[in-house]
């Protein structure tokens, strides 16, 4: 009987490990975006898997393992690299452009075709320049395709917080890419900034 139980547990463990390894590339890319450093990304991913293995009993089979792993990794990231979980830091009001202001000033909105001419490296840099709390929401929703609900669960915040951080992150990204497009001459300066 004991042997049967052991065999069954072993099988479950293997299935768990196989499923977890299926998310390795995704987790590594996420770790790279969070830490911005390949060596730290490797450490973070390894620690994530070690912790996942230790807490595998708390994972419910058939639920979203990617979200579960991301939650572990994200908490480790804040604990190890940032010296503690983020308090609900207010990032409000740091120079937000209202959508209406953007809309009223046609020069503030680059043509969408301009996006096609921006180098992939520059997009990654723009994402990596976002404050961590904004960056992680972009990673979850835009890169990994998480629903707001799943992202909120991973981050341990209300859905409204996911929405406001995402909105601000997108505004920052737009500004960043727009500045790059102007500086690199992809779009011409419309106004002299005298």
């Amino acid at each position: 009987m004991t042997t049967l139980v052991a065999v069954a547990e072993n099988r479950n463990g293997t299935r768990f490990a196989e499923e977890a390894m299926g998310h390795l590339d995704t987790l590594y890319r996420g770790a790279l975006r969070l830490t911005r450093d390949p060596a730290q990304a490797e450490d973070l991913v390894q620690d994530t898997y070690v912790r996942a293995l230790r807490y595998q009993h708390s994972y419910q089979e058939g639920t979203n393992m990617k979200a579960w792993l991301f939650a572990i990794m994200r908490n480790l990231f804040w604990d190890r690299f940032k010296g503690g979980r983020p308090e609900d830091v207010s990032l409000d009001g740091d120079g937000e452009l209202s959508l209406y202001d953007t809309l009223k000033d046609p020069t503030a909105v680059p043509e969408s075709e301009v996006l096609d001419r921006i180098a992939a490296d520059e997009v990654v840099r723009a994402v990596e320049r976002l404050p961590e709390l904004h960056r992680e929401v972009v990673l979850l929703v835009d890169v990994e395709g998480f629903s707001y609900k799943d992202a909120a669960q991973v981050l341990g915040v209300p859905i409204g917080t996911v929405m406001s951080r995402l909105h601000r992150a997108r505004q920052q990204l737009q500004k960043s890419l727009q500045d790059y497009a102007r500086e690199s001459g992809i779009v011409r300066e419309e106004k002299e900034s005298a």
């Binding site: 293997t14 490990a17 977890a20 390894m21 390795l24 590339d25 987790l27 590594y28 890319r29 790279l32 975006r33 390949p38 490797e42 991913v45 390894q46 898997y49 070690v50 293995l53 959508l99 209406y100 953007t102 809309l103 909105v109 680059p110 969408s112 996006l115 096609d116 921006i118 992939a120 490296d121 997009v123 990654v124 994402v127 972009v138 990673l139 929703v141 835009d142 890169v143 395709g145 629903s147 707001y148 929405m163 995402l166 909105h167 997108r170 990204l173 737009q174 890419l177």
Partner: protein, 72 residues
Amino acid sequence: MNCNGCLEKLDLYLDRELTDAELGDVRGHLERCPPCEHRYLLLAGMKRLVKVCCDQGAAPSHLRQKLVQILF
């Protein structure tokens, strides 16, 4: 739906987080309003770009090997 209402829902529309009825309202407005549609195309383009650019590259093989030893 006016421009203000549309812009408030644009992120949700982009991320498919609206009900069918709300989705229809936003889509209807975008079809009639070029400035809002322009804004939407830009947002959608950025989302696509971020996805494509950040979703490249595999974990190093030595990391994979190390994890296999740890996990199996």
